[in-house]
């Protein structure tokens, strides 16, 4: 059964009433006309204090009596197979308690340096490491290649230009949409341009490495697990299967997770190894990866080469957009796709072809908006090139072509707050300052992230007035726990500090894996629903006490009672509850049709380039971003600012550097893998653009990924503006900047 409900949706510039079908039992959805108390505020994270004081316990921090330490023997060769593994000597080494082979039988292929071969557990980590050298592994080594452009099927790049006729894609390549004659479309445009963009592998670099503490208990044939994971329930399923015990006997805990960015959806081979070692030793085993393993064995954002040909009419209207890309997803040979939104050329002829090229390197994994920052870097670069050819300012060119009304409003707001006119270098490549060149750039964001799934949340209200909100999924740092407190508080008319939130324990109700920017939009409606149902039960008790009809009861300023009559404080009302608390289970209902299914955003960057040393410093950055209903301003802004920080680091510094001969990463540590630090940070501002999307009873949308799609492109365009030359290869390191400055002098 569904009830038709009218609600006001949209944003300041475009708000209207629509009718949505609200499922039976759901709460009345919030909309633009709803007045909210806690929600929309700037509360601190409820676990901020625990985190900054070190009281928060991550999987890495778990130490148990009798715990062993696991370690993995990894292949030093990039390609081949394992002929044999002999563990006999290892088992005699001091402290060694368990050992397992991870490559045998059919599954003996070696696909990259770091591919797991065997694992052992010993009393101390040093004993385990010593014992590694006693494992006798024999390999059959094959010739390898770790370089994208040396892979089979790689394009023949000629000085970064598309010189060949546009090559015909291999049959395996995917075409989207169906293939118009793009060659013709581009050549017939008034203005056309083409170019090649390239980017390196970026590693996730989560502060907490991958791994688990697995405690298998033989007496009960059960296991307790502490995992650094983005998916507690997925981890339970995979590890129960590795331990070969029923899932109901496995508890996975991930109360705090030190970052994942897409690389921690499964327990991985390190999780399997840890489970097997624990079972063999009948003891708790901790197996957390070290930093080199983290850089080389847990996935990455793939490298790519993207080529674009595009054309526009004289007035600036884009008429053709043809993209082909080559992705370097490593040994899997798939998953390296790059992508972009089509808001600028939905009405033009456009096409996207992608080909993945396999190399003998660690397989790529999802990383914060997989494929997007890469695709947007190239697309927005091309937008600026075309704008210049049409004689238009980058902002005017985008306002002309962007078909999102929401983003147009954001462009205008952002440009004004940022001071676009003042920072944009109208004579690119020159400036009065003898030392520094300056410029500005912009880029668009786009994402889905409306959430879904049949997740459940428990809300309990106790006789003493304490309130719990519980879900078994993880808060990987996005602040979901804080949002649960705020949403519950809002519904009950009390303050968020009164709510105790529990996340990251699979004994609590099921919740989603944290990916695709869906945790907040997926869980929030269930959190609110649970609180709403608990509220109804408490309301009923108050009604009984006041001897009135339950539908007469109102909730106001932390009091419950009758309009104009007796109002009981929440705390007092709870005394009507017996020893058994009120417990309600909220359910995530399917999304309504709503107002829109995506989020937009835009970012602006201003940079300073040292003409002599080629060093780029970002001086200022601003992001405008929508994400449906903003539940907590501060947390939302921090996602946007975090995305800008990550984007600056990616576009200017980060790259995996491989030794081609040994096929091994050379900068697999934080001393040599360069990540932007505090001194490299600009003045940053995030403006949240609130939109009532009418998708569910809360209307929140995902925010983790959208802002990260724009940041690298905005900075790259700013550098290009400063230099008066398109910078099409990231990271934009000083050597590349100096080479660009040189090419201009010639």
């Amino acid at each position: 059964m569904k009830n038709e409900h009218e609600m006001r949706v949209g944003f300041a510039g475009d708000n209207r009433k629509i009718k949505v079908d609200v499922p039976e039992g759901d709460l009345t959805p919030w909309d633009l006309d709803t007045k909210l108390e806690s929600v929309g505020g700037r509360s601190d994270r409820i676990d901020a204090f625990a985190k900054v004081t070190g009281r928060a316990k991550y999987a890495y921090d778990i130490n148990l009596p009798g715990m062993l330490h696991g370690i993995i023997l990894r292949s030093p060769h990039p390609r081949g197979s394992v002929k044999s593994v002999d563990l006999s000597k290892t088992l005699d080494m001091p402290g060694v308690k368990a050992a397992v082979v991870m490559k045998q039988g059919e599954r003996n292929r070696i696909r990259y340096v770091g591919d797991p071969v065997a694992a052992i557990a010993a009393d101390t980590l040093d004993q385990a490491r010593d014992a590694l050298s006693a494992i006798v592994a024999e390999y059959e080594i094959e010739a390898h290649n770790v370089e994208l452009l040396a892979a089979e099927g790689a394009p023949n790049l000629n000085e970064n230009n598309i010189s060949d006729p546009w090559p015909v894609p291999r049959p395996a390549a995917r075409r989207r949409p169906a293939d118009p004659d793009m060659e013709l479309e581009v050549s017939e445009a008034d203005v056309s341009a083409e170019g090649t963009w390239s980017m390196e592998v970026q590693t996730h670099s989560s502060l907490e490495s991958h791994g688990n503490v697995v405690w298998y208990k033989k007496e009960t044939d059960s296991a307790e697990i502490w995992a650094s994971t983005q998916a507690t329930f997925g981890a339970r399923q995979a590890l129960a299967s590795a331990l070969d015990i029923p899932q109901d006997r496995v508890t996975v805990r991930a109360e705090f997770v030190g970052g994942g960015f897409g690389s921690k959806f499964t327990p991985g081979e390190e999780g399997m190894a840890c489970a097997l070692l624990s079972k063999q030793a009948n003891a708790p085993v901790k197996l957390m990866l070290d930093r080199f393993e983290e850089h080389t064995c847990t996935g990455n954002r793939p490298s790519a080469v993207i080529q674009i040909r595009a054309g526009a009419k004289k007035d600036g209207t884009v008429v053709a957009w043809d993209t082909r890309s080559f992705g370097g997803p490593g040994c899997n040979g798939r998953g390296g796709s790059t992508s972009h939104h089509t808001n600028y050329f939905d009405n033009a002829k456009h096409r996207r072809i992608h080909v993945d090229l396999a190399t003998d390197t660690d397989a790529s994994r999802a990383m914060r908006a997989p494929g997007r920052p890469q695709g947007v870097f190239a697309m927005e670069g091309m937008m600026d090139i075309l704008a210049a050819k049409c004689g238009l300012d980058p902002l005017a060119f985008r306002l002309l072509n962007d078909n999102s009304e929401l983003r147009k409003a954001e462009w205008q707001l952002g440009a004004e707050k940022f001071g676009w006119a003042e920072h944009y270098n109208a004579s690119p490549g020159s400036g009065e300052d003898p030392r520094y060149l300056r410029g500005a750039g912009m880029a668009s964001a786009f994402w889905g992230g409306m959430g879904g799934g049949k997740h459940r949340v428990t809300c309990r209200i106790h006789r003493d007035g304490s309130v719990e909100s519980r879900n078994g999924a993880q808060d990987i740092g996005t602040g979901m726990k804080t949002l649960m407190a705020m949403l519950t508080a809002e519904e009950l008319g009390i303050s968020p500090e009164q709510i105790r939130v529990s996340m990251g324990n699979t004994n609590d109700p099921p919740g989603p894996a944290s990916g695709g920017s869906t945790t907040t939009p997926s869980l929030s409606p269930a959190v609110r629903h649970a609180a709403g149902l608990a509220k109804q039960e408490l309301g009923a008790k108050v009604a009984e006490r006041l001897q009135v009809d339950a539908n007469k009861i109102i909730w106001q300023n932390g009091h419950i009672g009758l309009q104009g009559g007796e109002m009981i404080p929440f705390q007092e009302a709870c005394k009507l509850i017996g020893a058994e608390p009120i417990e309600a289970t909220g359910i995530r209902q399917a999304n309504y049709d709503g107002y829109q299914d995506n989020v937009c955003g835009c970012q602006f960057a201003a940079v300073r380039v040292d003409r002599e040393t080629g060093l780029v410093l970002v001086e200022k950055m601003l992001g405008v971003q929508d994400c449906g209903l903003v539940i907590n301003q501060k947390l939302a802004e921090s996602q946007v600012i975090g995305a800008m920080i990550e984007g600056i680091s990616y576009v200017l510094h980060e790259q995996r550097i491989m030794d081609p001969k040994q096929g091994r990463m050379l900068n697999g540590d934080f001393a040599n893998y360069k990540i932007a630090g505090t001194l490299d940070m600009p003045e940053m501002e995030a403006i949240m653009y609130s939109v009532a999307n009418g998708k569910n009873n809360v209307g929140a949308a995902g925010l983790g990924e959208p802002p990260s799609t724009a940041a690298p492109a905005a900075v790259a365009n700013a550098v290009s503006n400063a230099l008066g030359l398109p910078m099409r290869s990231m990271p934009i390191t000083p050597d590349k900047v100096l080479a660009a400055l040189h090419s201009k002098k010639k």
Binding site: L652, A671, K674, G677, D680
Partner: protein
């Protein structure tokens, strides 16, 4: 790391007597521990010099210059009020740009001068190169060498990693060491091998010789110094090139100068010929451009590091401009 014995000496002499081929001195350990953890060095004994830190830490005025204890932290040098003047500025700037606040707080001046090269082949257990003593050849020469030597015509393309060494070169520093009862004093240039071959250790101290003091002589009137480095980011990065300079000025005129380059060759590179071009000239960017060109006249890039030559020149011009007051 492998297990080792930790020896806690009471004084310099005890420490030195315990030195030998299988023992290694440890100051703060910020460099040493990385090497031990990577198992590229596996000593039997660690001799902890910090046991007598109070005897060897501090910046003491001495005859118009300074005696600096080898265990003085880099932070203490960076924040020293005594070293704030233009005549010592190069040392302070070199210290300020070193590493991270945490490393500067712990790491010592002595350890900074004696740290091992950062060559990524040498620093990894998995790679076996000539200088690491485990392989037949240099892996960088036709490998990944974007950060390597541009002055290397020898068999090892490493670069010298210390920020502070070039600054101490131009300041004319001398070093004191102690081996057992015996002490020794010599110019800083003698700390590094004359011909930095792969087979040579990166410094010339014997295995029972402890660096105790760094002496900085008094400055001539009109002395002004500067240290500038290029890097890829501002928060914690090793220099891609570096230059320390000392000028003795009278008004706009340069009476004499000294130049030392860092991070471009296996040793700090004093450039006496280029520095001579400064004597008797008025400070100008044009002059500094010529001097920088001369300093890098003999540079030979590897496949990936030609950019360092241009950068190195820019950094040297900048250092000269700062020292002369042009910038």
């Amino acid at each position: 790391m492998h297990s080792f014995e930790l020896f806690l000496p009471d004084n310099i002499k005890d420490a030195s007597l315990r030195g030998g081929p299988n023992a290694v001195f440890k100051a703060a350990g910020t460099d040493l521990l990385d090497r031990l953890k990577e198992r590229i060095e596996n000593p039997e004994t660690l001799i902890n010099l910090l046991e007598f830190k109070k005897d060897l830490a501090g910046i003491n005025p001495q005859a118009g210059g300074f005696d600096i204890g080898s265990l003085t932290s880099i932070h203490d040098i960076a924040s020293s009020a005594s070293l704030a003047g233009p005549e010592w500025r190069a040392l302070k700037q070199a210290a300020e740009t070193t590493a991270t606040p945490q490393i500067r707080n712990r790491g010592t001046l002595g350890g900074n001068l004696l740290q091992k090269t950062r060559c990524w082949y040498l620093r990894s257990e998995a790679f076996k190169c000539l200088h690491g003593g485990r392989g037949p050849s240099c892996l960088a020469v036709d490998g990944e060498n974007r950060y390597h030597s541009v002055m290397g015509t020898l068999d090892c393309m490493r670069v010298h990693p210390s920020n502070l060494a070039p600054a101490l070169y131009v300041l004319g520093a001398e070093l004191s060491t102690q081996s057992g009862e015996e002490s020794n004093r010599f110019p800083i240039a003698e700390l590094y091998p004359e011909l930095p071959l792969a087979s040579e250790a990166e410094h010339t101290l014997s295995d029972n010789e402890i660096l105790t003091h760094i002496h900085i002589p008094a400055a001539v009137t009109g002395t002004s110094t500067a240290y500038v480095e290029s890097r890829e980011k501002l928060s914690f990065d090793w220099a891609t090139t570096a230059a320390a300079v000392l000028l003795v000025m009278k008004g706009k005129a340069i009476l004499s100068g000294r130049i030392c380059l860092g991070a471009v060759a296996p040793n700090p590179i004093p450039c006496d010929q280029a520095a001579e071009m400064l004597a008797g000239q008025d400070a100008s960017m044009e002059l500094f451009g010529k001097v920088a060109a001369a300093a890098y006249a003999k540079a030979v890039p590897l496949a990936q590091n030609e950019y360092k030559i241009e950068l190195g020149k820019a950094v040297l011009r900048d250092a000269l401009a700062q020292a002369s007051g042009l910038r």
